[in-house]
Amino acid sequence: MADILRQEFYKVWHKRSTVYTPLVIFVLMGIVGAMTIHSSDARFYISAGFAGFQWAMIMLIVIAANTISSEFEYGTIKHLIVQGNGRTLVFLAKFLVIGAYDIYLHGLVFGLTLILKPLIYGRRFAFNQNYLYGQSLMTNLVTETLVDLLGSLIIIGMIVMLACVSKTSAVAIATGIVVCFVGQGVSELLLKAAGSLSVILKWNPFNMLFLSNEWSNPSYDHNTLLSLPSLIWGNVIYALVFLVLGYEMFKHKPI
């Protein structure tokens, strides 16, 4: 396991995208920050990492899908499997690397927020200043980072599953990005049209994408019809279901 993990991290480390990702996220977060320099709700943008978590999620979708699909495209999956690893270990290693990259990206957005805040707002909006729920701006930012990290699990599970079922990474990437940006809207429409069926449909996977919103704003439970703990468990269970399905597909994917 240690050997294949070393190989996986070696590959990620040597990808050009690994070098450019922090720069791209930094620039995009900087643009959002610059656009909100005179905003009355600047503290919201700080606690939301200048929308960096959204950019990070797009990067993560691309990287996760490529990490799996590219092995089949390049024909390198044969080497990974035959080197004494077997499909189960390869799948596990891939998931761990994607998970580690997810943590890295969230840490990166957190760190870049700490750098960008003084660059954009100067001494205004100190991190120890009170913001929501009687907590400091820093506590809000930390909480947002952790909740977004938890919410990203379901996306990772879905992308891994799609990458295992499709021949190229394009399908997984396109679907992942669409789900990320349209998923919440789809869930809202479903629940509005569901009527009495909403008791069942509130458990649809798209509804789980509201985790971060409901954490920041508990009144969201009127939209999701689910409590915060239900959303947390829903995210974890859906992520596990997607991963198990992805693993089964990976095990039988032709080489």
Binding site: Y10, G75, V82, Q83, G84, G86, T88, H252
Partner: protein, 301 residues
């Protein structure tokens, strides 16, 4: 010589198509074995099945005394291979590929030198030509001193010099005890290096034998030149020899019970003056193509 690989009754279906049909053969340690057959015969499928790359197959593959199971590749730690196309990450350099799979610097440098890859080893693989990629694929198959190396069409895209380097490398490693299974369409190149040959057609083993036996089996054609070819041919045919005049010479094919040692005095005793005689050595490529044609005819019949 000990056995390193045993394939017994290996069968594989893709949908309703039977691509491997009870394939059985044994490979001895240190041998270079040629896996030969037309396109779609099942060569790559055999190689992939040996490595347990299919989720399921029927039959038995035993490598180094251990049975190979689908989903369990732990027996293959000492196997290197190149199947279908070189397994290369375009964003890594050649050297980074080696570093990915091996930490033995001396071994890495030896392989780089053997295949003359020094001048492009630090370039990203995406900029490699077909031949360079092929060489990198071969190099990755032989890194880490494997006991068995499986090479599927390794000569693809290689220039003559690289082909020669590859031949030398295979023969050098085989002498040290590495076993090779090599498939190739370029039978003339393959014939220069293999000890044994396994002929595959329609997913079945048509022939599995030593190359020396193959040469021996097709060792009965002679060309004669005499002072009187017409009379000599008549004498030979009348006495049970298979002979014909071709391009002003007599072509004789001896049966298993006939020998050239008896034929020459026989003609001389009949007053035929022999001016020239030489042995027709049929190349292995022709022998294999002939055998393949015969097997196809049998299938059709």
């Amino acid at each position: 010589m000990t056995q390193i690989l045993k394939v017994h009754n290996l069968s594989k279906k893709f949908g309703n198509k039977q691509v491997l049909d009870h394939v059985s053969f044994t490979i001895l340690r240190g041998k270079v074995v040629g896996l030969v057959g037309p396109n779609g015969a099942g060569k790559s499928t055999i190689m992939k099945a040996i490595l347990g790359l299919y989720p399921s197959f029927s039959g038995q593959v035993v490598f180094d005394g251990r049975s190979v199971k689908a989903h369990d590749q732990s027996v293959f730690r000492k196997v290197g291979f190149l199947i279908e196309k070189p397994a290369i990450y375009p964003f890594l350099t050649g050297l980074q590929h080696f570093q990915l799979y091996s930490s033995n610097k001396a071994d890495i440098q030896e392989v780089i030198d053997e295949l003359h890859m020094n001048h492009y080893i630090n370039r990203k693989a995406t900029h490699y030509s077909l031949g360079m990629k092929q060489k990198l694929g071969i190099a990755l198959a032989i890194i880490n001193q494997p006991e068995l190396v499986i090479l599927d069409e390794p000569m693809n895209g290689l220039d003559p010099q690289s082909n020669r380097d590859l031949r030398h490398l295979i023969m050098k490693r085989a002498k040290k005890g590495t076993t090779f299974i090599v498939s190739s369409h370029i039978l003339s190149e393959l014939a220069k290096i293999v000890d044994d040959v396994i002929l595959i057609n329609d997913g079945k083993v048509v022939l599995a034998t030593a190359i020396s036996e193959l040469r021996q089996a097709d060792n009965h054609d002679y060309i004669l030149q005499t002072r009187n070819n017409i009379e000599a041919k008549e004498i030979l045919v009348n006495n049970g020899y298979q002979a014909e005049i071709r391009n002003g010479q007599i072509s004789v094919t001896l049966s298993a019970s006939q020998g050239i040692v008896e034929l020459l005095p026989f003609l001389i005793n009949h007053g035929i003056a022999i001016t020239n005689i030489y042995h027709c050595q049929t190349d292995i490529e022709s022998i294999l193509v002939k055998m393949l044609d015969e097997s196809k005819s049998e299938v059709r019949a």
